[in-house]
């Protein structure tokens, strides 16, 4: 059998197949994440309705069936695509059109290093469920996600509108400030797990401590979790830190002059960064794809190498969805901070706490390593 021989060759197994798997993953990941956006929009609108004792959108239907309002995001998308493309007279055209893309692309890219299931080995071929296994891991996420600030600043400036400008400036200072907290809060976990690569950190979280609590980041460093979740809200420009697009003060901030699909791209970027941030919280603090009390090795021997990844993907999705829901839930609960309060909270409260947290954790790690 010529084909069998070809398949079993070294080159095919170690070069072609892994590359093919990576390509499939690299296509599948953005598709899945992008197609999750309509569901998030639906969750947000329907959830808002129910929280506020309303019904939420339920009008658009096919032959009288409204599918719980799930058709509304599709209708929105059709409307957005069909809209006229307008360019404001004062806009700097090149940057005006470049900005939406610069916001969306980093938001999709940063999902690349997040593992959604443990790698499985089927007939000697290792299938990773992570697009890119980079040693710098989470540092890559920080690097990429801070690129998103450029898009927002560019949008604010290139629109040629004062409100947009204000939104862009607010967004830039807020995101830069909270990125510090975001990074510092994770440093404690890097020290505890001695790793920055997400897949290894998730593997380390599968074990149990004192034989009944999983070694999740939230149990090992709860302070870091609260710091991170606060900073993550600010980083996504979500309530209570949604100052860049504070409708009541600066109309809509940086995306004021954008309409149609360009506006939709800003919305997409917002939801994408919510998904990414929720995925990072899950990965770092809630054991990523780990099923509680069932480490990867045990699960794989129990369910087999074919089914185990799907169980883990399900576990990962459920955890991530919870944090996505937390974003939506908090949006309809908390009022917006004032701008000086946001900055004070960052530099006078969270920053010292983050530093103290690092210092204390470092001392403990140092003492244990002696």
């Amino acid at each position: 059998m010529f084909i069998e021989q070809y398949i079993s060759t070294y080159v095919f197994k170690t070069v072609y197949l892994p590359v093919m798997i990576k390509v499939i993953l690299a296509v599948a990941f953005p598709l899945v994440v992008l197609s999750a956006i309509p569901i998030l929009v639906w969750m947000e609108r329907r959830g808002a309705g129910l929280i506020q004792d309303r019904m939420g959108p339920n009008r658009s239907n096919i032959l009288g069936y409204n599918f719980l309002g799930l058709l509304h995001p599709i209708n929105d998308a059709i409307k957005m695509v069909m809209k006229e493309t307008l360019t404001p007279a004062r806009a700097k055209v090149l940057f005006y059109y470049l900005a939406p893309a610069l916001v969306v692309i980093p938001a999709i890219m940063s999902f690349a290093v997040i593992p959604v299931a443990a790698p499985v080995e089927i007939e000697g071929v290792k299938i990773p469920f992570q697009v890119a296994t980079i040693d710098s891991g989470l540092l890559y996420i920080f690097a990429i996600s801070s690129l998103g600030v450029y898009g927002i600043m560019m949008a604010g400036w290139a629109s040629g509108n004062k409100f947009s400008m204000l939104g862009g400036i607010r967004s830039a200072s807020q995101m830069l400030s909270y990125e510090i907290i975001l990074g510092l809060s994770l440093v404690t976990l890097f020290m505890i797990y001695s790793e920055v690569e997400p897949a290894s950190i998730v593997e380390a979280q599968g074990a149990l401590m004192f034989s009944f609590i999983p070694k999740w980041g939230i149990f090992l460093s709860p302070v870091a979790f609260f710091l991170f979740i606060t900073a993550a809200f600010a980083e996504c420009n979500r309530t209570p830190f949604d100052l860049p697009e504070a409708d009541s003060e600066i109309v809509a901030g940086y995306h004021l002059e954008y309409g149609g699909m360009k506006f939709a791209m800003f919305m997409m970027a917002e939801y994408l960064s919510i998904i990414t941030m929720s995925a990072i919280v899950t990965t770092m603090f809630f054991g990523g794809y780990q099923v509680p009390f069932l480490p990867t090795a045990a699960l794989q021997s129990l369910a087999g190498p074919f089914i185990a990844p799907f169980i883990q993907i399900a576990a990962f999705s459920v955890k991530t969805l919870f944090f996505i829901w937390l974003y939506i839930w908090a949006r309809w609960t908390l009022p917006r901070f004032r701008y000086d309060q946001v900055m004070k909270l960052c530099y006078l409260r969270l920053f010292p706490i983050a530093l103290a947290n690092i210092f204390i954790t470092a001392l403990i790690v140092l003492m244990l390593n002696k």
């Binding site: 959830g47 129910l50 929280i51 506020q52 004792d53 309303r54 019904m55 609260f226 839930w329 908090a330 309809w332 609960t333 908390l334």
Partner: protein, 209 residues
Amino acid sequence: MPKNEYKKIKDRFKDNEFIDKNRPLTFLERLYFVEIIRGLAVTIRHFLYNLFNFSKLPTIEYPEKKREIPAAFRGRHRLTKRPDGSPRCVACFLCATACPANCIHIEAGEYKDGNPNEKYPVQYEIDMLRCVFCGLCVEACPCDAIRMDTGEYDLADYKREDLIFTKEKLMGEYPPVANRGDAFDAAAFNAARSNGEKPSDNAEAGEGK
């Protein structure tokens, strides 16, 4: 507010209940975090309650279902008729005079056939685009000829001309109001108010519900 000053104010209000807005925040409240969780608890309680009691939501899905309107609700006008089908209106212009929006236009005419009512409106138009639905025309009418008891309030249309209601339209049929509340008996109320002064031949006038 300093604590001693606060205590002074509180002592002054000791006997009365007052909402304590100037109370200094406790440590837990100043932490803000506990309060956020309490706020989240409130919203999720609403969410879960509404999720499992979806049919109990107060929303009325408007075009399909309509709010129950009270019996004295001022809807669009109609001109009442005599038993022979002629308008009760005697073209006295009291409604047009009372109208604060100047939306009633009447052209009077005379019965040539010895009808004891002598006058009738040749034209009776109400400009619904101008009408403020105040009901002064109904109150001004000495003959109970104009009423606002049709229960219609969604009068949108595509053309301005269609919203100038002519005599024929005002005297025409109106759909029976299915969702009218019965807390208030308009017929009894009107009967008591008119005190027998109005003409008694109201067999057709569309009394009651």
